[in-house]
């Protein structure tokens, strides 16, 4: 219980700070809309091919726009040396980490949920038909993005070229999760249920989330204190 309260305290702090400045969320949203617009030059919404790439496109938008938010996760602790105070506080590193994950998760999810209707309007896809399942995939995929992005945000917080290193580390490791999410989303966003064969991808996504949440929690103290 105490642990949960500590996680929520950190999460609320991050979200409150972000909503005051709105730096990351504005940039993230603008970026997402920009990519969606740019891609519409490439694809004719009427074409069948559009349906096939829709899942992939959506997750490229989410992953790239999401990184803008994830980068801020630990970077926001740098001014005034706030990270010192958080590490010195008697909360477990895992509580600090999960609190930040939760905050980033909600912020990234917000951008995704705003982008989805825009995507639907631009590309005329019936994303509401399978919304419950689509939401499940969104939550699982976003958690994968968040967990990897946050742990590497902590890892790269103090280094040179942080903005370059974070995506370089995150995207390759994230590939299996992105592939799963893209595959599942393609059917769902077009109003089709998940094909029988594709349930394996759902399991992979869940497995990815479980494994890397565990690995991150195991290594967070090392990442924070060295």
């Amino acid at each position: 219980m105490k642990f949960l309260r500590q996680v929520l305290t950190v999460a609320v702090k991050d979200i409150r700070a972000e909503l005051r400045t709105k730096e990351a969320i504005n940039a993230s949203l603008a970026f997402a809309l920009m990519i969606l617009l740019l891609f519409s030059y490439t694809f004719d919404p009427e074409q069948e091919m559009m349906r096939q790439v829709s899942g992939g496109l959506l997750w490229i938008v989410f992953a790239f726009a999401g990184t803008l938010t994830l980068n801020r996760s630990f970077a926001r602790e740098l001014p005034n040396d706030c990270l010192d105070a958080l590490i010195a506080a008697p909360i477990p590193g895992s509580a600090l980490f999960l609190g930040k994950c939760l905050a980033s998760f909600l912020l990234v999810l917000a951008v995704e949920l705003i982008s989805l209707p825009v995507f639907g309007i631009f590309y005329r896809v019936h994303w509401t038909l399978q919304f419950p399942w689509l939401l499940v995939v969104l939550l699982l995929g976003t958690w994968a993005l968040t967990i990897i992005g946050t742990i590497f945000s902590a890892l790269t917080v103090n280094i040179r070229l942080r903005e370059v290193m974070l995506p370089m580390l995150t995207y390759p490791i994230l590939m299996p999760a992105l592939m799963s999410a893209m595959r599942l989303t393609t059917s769902l966003v077009n109003g089709q249920p998940i094909p029988e064969d594709d349930f394996a991808w759902l399991k992979m996504l869940i497995g990815f989330d479980v494994v890397f949440t565990a690995v991150s929690l195991a290594l967070i103290e090392t990442v924070l204190v060295g």
Binding site: R5, T9, C82, G226
Partner: protein, 233 residues
Amino acid sequence: MSAVAVEGVWKYYGDYPALRNIQLEATEGACLALIGRNGAGKTTLLRAIAGFSLAQRGKIKIFGKEPREAETRRLMGFIGHGISVYDELSALENLTLFGKLYGLPDPDRSAREWLERTGLERVRNGLVREFSRGMRQRLAVARAFLHEPSVLLLDEPFTALDDRAIAVLQRLLREALAARKTIVMSTHQLREALELATHVALLTRGQLTFHGERTQEMVDDPGYVYARYGEGA
């Protein structure tokens, strides 16, 4: 059992020893002034005591326990080079946040109490980014004292403070010492620190070249310790 015990500590940056065989302790109620030139290792030692980094050799004990244990962290307050409060939050929000993180029973009340003790009561809802420098520093002090730590670790706390902030800090430190708290303070401002100190330790290039009680000689002539025990001595 001493409040702070540093036993045979070596700290390396890679293969380079930043701290060499540091052996010192501070008993409960002592105020240890850690002095030394820039680069001597004062900040490194303080941060190691605070648990921000691990010493490769030797042990650090706070009341006999590891610095990183949760219970021990609750006993320590740290002021580093930065103020460690959030610009985007208000003074009250900042202190309430740390109150919650430190598990205080009534974070809001403790926050208000410390805002008053540091003279920030009237600006409690102001965002820190709008504060003057002196106000920011007083808030940093409030943050460090908020959870009534038994051990205070201060890294050059008097540097670049305005007069009001210096007065507040000196008052709070005297009160802390009267309540038998332990203070380890690194400093360049020898005069303010030596007035409060009960003990002095001099670091020269990562090594402890002097460790003993503060004498009247030191207060009268702060440069004395450097001349007697520093390099070129």
